[in-house]
């Protein structure tokens, strides 16, 4: 793993994007790593575009500003592809993980991704509806991100999802989210 991984999340208010960034940070604590998770705070409105960030590093994290040149861009809502520039500040080898029903090749073309940039897609909203009956795509996105980045093992991530969701939700919702995380991991496709 690289010494420092910087992740930018794009979602809409109410999709659990900030929670996803938090769970990822917690899961990445293992092995003595340093982590950050923070949203960009504006007026909190359901449906409004929002960003959240992660930094995961072997060294102490001192930088306290938004991620400007992400290694990974995670798009929790595909409609954002048409309204904002999700590739802003991307590097020549930035990895994109996008929640969409579309084929990864089609999305790759739409983004105009460079030869070294990787584009992955996963139908996280459908997985979420299948697994726990709500269009809350954060847990399958976490599973997909886990597979694509290799930052943590799936078992480890599942354990953390169990821990984080366990504080707030009923067993049925937790089980659904665990299944959704696993399916996100398994169903993410490269374009």
């Amino acid at each position: 793993m690289a010494e420092l991984t910087e992740i930018r999340w794009h979602g809409r208010g109410g999709q659990g994007t900030v929670t996803a960034a938090k769970v990822l940070a917690d899961a990445c604590l293992s092995g003595g790593r340093h982590v950050q998770a923070f949203p960009e705070y504006g007026p909190e409105r359901a449906g409004a575009p929002l960003r959240a960030y992660n930094r995961i590093s072997a060294k102490e994290l001192r930088m306290h500003c938004p991620v400007l040149t992400p290694d990974v861009v995670s798009v929790v809502d595909a409609t954002l592809l048409d309204s904002i520039n999700i590739a802003e500040g991307s590097k020549e080898d930035t990895v994109f993980v996008i929640n969409t029903t579309k084929d990864p090749k089609e999305v790759r073309e739409k983004l105009g991704a460079g030869p070294k940039q990787k584009v992955y897609t996963v139908d996280a909203t459908k997985i979420a509806i299948d697994c726990f009956g709500r269009a809350m795509p954060n847990s399958p996105m976490l599973g997909a991100l886990c597979k694509v980045t290799g930052l943590i093992s799936l078992e480890h991530l599942l354990e953390d999802v169990r821990k984080s969701f366990g504080k707030k939700f009923a067993q049925k919702v937790i089980d659904g989210n665990l299944e959704a995380t696993r399916r996100g991991y398994e169903e993410v496709k490269e374009g």
Binding site: G32, V35, A37, Y41, H64
Partner: protein, 392 residues
């Protein structure tokens, strides 16, 4: 044995307060502090602490309740931000004038108008002259550690003064970072039992707080406040030494980063210091001797020590996340006063950055360090005070 966690700054400080388990807590919400006191209120209702919560109708009342509880003889805390701190203003003077060791985390936020909820230092800088000790924190770990140390400093029998522990709103209060918690027993043992000094509830020995003192002795009373402030530095260092023994984490009056042989230096508070350190590493890698000084104890201000640390630099920029409109930035005024006493001193400039939560980016630090480098190599100082990262 410490425990590694990924938590927000607010969560970390709430946990520090839980570990101390004070007698009384004044609670009134204000963004971005709300989440800290909300967590503390949960500790109270879950029976994790036996603190008495005083739910009030304003911050003015919160500080008033804290003053009463502290004078009565309790260990007392509250927390606030921005307008809340501003509304407390007259009571802040009473807490310090009555020598009440109230501990108050301040989650730094901009002041209205215009309304803004984001991080800047205008609130705490406005409370500079209230007679409170002020300790500033770069990140969640420092906010947690400083909160624990604040009890030992404020409650020290030679000091007995209220303490503000400052951290950046949202940037730290709402960001999750890795940090290390101490064991509950370690913290309890470190802060020790609260010791009373002239408690009002000692009915056998009645006493008065805040009586009328006119021109006969008011002047002497205020000199006593000045003199006790002079003792604070030593206590801060003594407490830091004990804290290091327990935690392994070292604290001083300020942090010097790459400063020993530095030609150019930034002086900068709180979270932006972290971002600046990464940029300073880049400048060092290019052979430019850059360094940084991050004040920790802002009141009382360690003038001699700061002057000594900056003595051999050629050019220094003081970065302020607050402004004294029509004057220089508040931190600049301190550094300027500190350096004036030196025979030979560096060129000094002042940049105002990050007001109302405007991001402080590595490129901003680069810009300033490049300007300092020019000045250090014989260039002229242009504008002494300037706003950076301004949209024109």
């Amino acid at each position: 044995m410490s425990k590694v966690v990924a938590v927000t700054g607010n969560e970390a400080v709430a946990n520090a307060l839980r570990q101390v388990n004070p007698d009384v807590c004044g609670i009134y919400p204000i963004t971005p502090q709300t989440d800290m006191m909300q967590r503390y209120a949960s500790f109270i209702s879950d029976g994790k602490v036996d603190t008495e919560a005083v739910l009030v109708e304003s911050e003015h009342s919160s500080m008033s309740a804290c003053i009463g509880a502290s004078a009565a003889g309790g260990r007392v805390v509250t927390a606030t931000s921005s307008q809340g701190l501003a509304l407390m203003w007259e009571m802040l003077h009473i807490a310090s004038g009555d020598r009440l060791p109230i501990i108050m985390p301040v989650v730094n936020r901009a002041l209205s108008a215009p309304l803004n909820i984001h991080g800047d230092h205008s609130d705490a800088m406005g409370a500079r002259d209230t007679g409170w000790i002020q300790i500033w924190s770069e990140n969640g770990q420092e906010a947690y550690d400083n909160t624990i140390q604040a009890f030992r400093i404020g409650e020290h029998m030679d000091i007995r003064l209220p303490v503000m522990v400052c951290m950046d709103g949202f940037i730290i209060s709402h960001s999750i970072e890795r940090l290390e918690y101490l064991e509950d027993a370690e913290v309890k043992n470190f802060v020790g039992e609260f010791k009373n000094l002239y408690p009002l509830l000692d009915l056998d020995k009645p006493k008065s707080y805040g009586p009328l003192i006119l021109a006969d002795l008011y002047h002497e009373y205020k000199r006593a406040q000045h003199e006790v402030m002079l003792k604070v530095k030593d206590i801060v260092l003594e407490v830091a030494k004990d804290f290091e023994k327990m935690s392994g984490r070292k604290y001083g009056l300020f942090e010097s980063y790459m400063l020993d042989d530095a030609d150019i230096a930034l002086v900068i508070l709180n979270s932006a210091a972290g971002t600046s350190k990464d940029v300073i590493d880049d400048f060092r890698a290019r052979g430019i001797k850059a360094g940084l000084l991050k004040p920790r104890l802002f009141r009382p201000f360690p003038y001699e020590e700061v002057a000594d640390a900056l003595r051999n630099t050629k050019a220094v920029c003081v970065m302020d996340r607050a402004d004294s409109f029509g004057g220089y930035g508040p931190l600049f005024m301190e550094i300027s006063s500190a350096l004036y006493q030196l025979q030979k001193r560096p060129a000094l400039i002042n940049k105002i950055y990050g007001l109302g939560g405007r991001d402080y980016l590595p490129s901003h630090a680069e810009l300033v360090l490049n300007e300092l480098n020019e000045i250090a190599r014989g260039g002229n100082v242009g504008l002494v005070k300037e706003y950076i990262a301004v949209k024109e």
